[in-house]
């Protein structure tokens, strides 16, 4: 299985994965494993997945992304999916797909801000 195709960077305590190339089933699955391993390795408390570069997200890739978020949550990390294009959002909703298990935000900045809020509310409990 190909691995390391999508760069996963640590930025100020959180992980940022920016998907710039269209994913097929194999690379999407590789990404899921890479991102979970990166969480374990870097002990990051937040993950931002930027999909600005994707002009199409089919149900398989959408499922991989939401599952990744739910898996990360089991590990103790919140995930924010950012940068979904209007065409992608419209298509997924029309297909009946709901992005359960992940937070969403407009862009990377907003995603980072949301993670900070989620973390402070959790730490405050």
């Amino acid at each position: 299985m190909q691995s390391g195709m999508i760069p996963i960077l640590k930025v100020g305590g959180i992980l940022l994965a920016s998907i710039q190339t269209e994913l097929n089933d194999t690379s999407a699955q590789a990404f899921q494993q890479d991102v979970l391993k990166a969480i374990e390795r870097t002990r990051s408390r937040g993950l931002v997945i930027d999909i600005t570069g994707l002009d199409m997200v089919d149900t398989f890739v959408a499922r991989i992304l939401t599952d990744s978020g739910r898996m990360a949550k089991l590990m103790g990390t919140e995930t924010v999916l950012v940068g979904m294009r209007p065409e992608v959002a419209a298509t997924l909703v029309r297909m009946g797909f709901s992005m359960q298990g992940v937070h969403t935000a407009l862009n990377v900045d907003e995603g980072m801000a949301l993670l900070a809020t989620l973390r402070s509310s959790r730490d405050g409990e």
């Binding site: 149900t59 065409e87 298509t91 297909m95 009946g96």
Partner: protein
Amino acid sequence: MPARVLATQEMKIASEDDVVLVRRAVRSLAERRGFDSFASAALTTAVTELGRNIWIHARHGAAIIEELEDGPRPGVRVEFKDQGPGIPDINWAMAGGNSTASSLGLGLSGTKRLVDDFQIQSEVGRGTSVRITKWKRF
């Protein structure tokens, strides 16, 4: 008056990469024919779902891409054909939430919602054919 077929292109589907090639061909055709980005994304997503079905369930098949014209209105039709195992119960398969293999259950019903026309025929042991059509909106 039936729609006129301006051009036909057949592409094989025998690998995951072939699905990507078919998706790219359809996207570029939709753009060339003046589809807006929403219609283009819907069509390309439908093509990816159906192409993947062939790869996952039948392993081999073909996509026949047609450029259509209905009066002044451009359209794209894609037929996905395979000689795979076929679908025993199309109504069940078309109902949302049902899934086999590694599909997700939204596949066929979700795909139908993305296009203007959706025709499916399947015979167990003989194969499946799905034909989708999308028209440019003005």
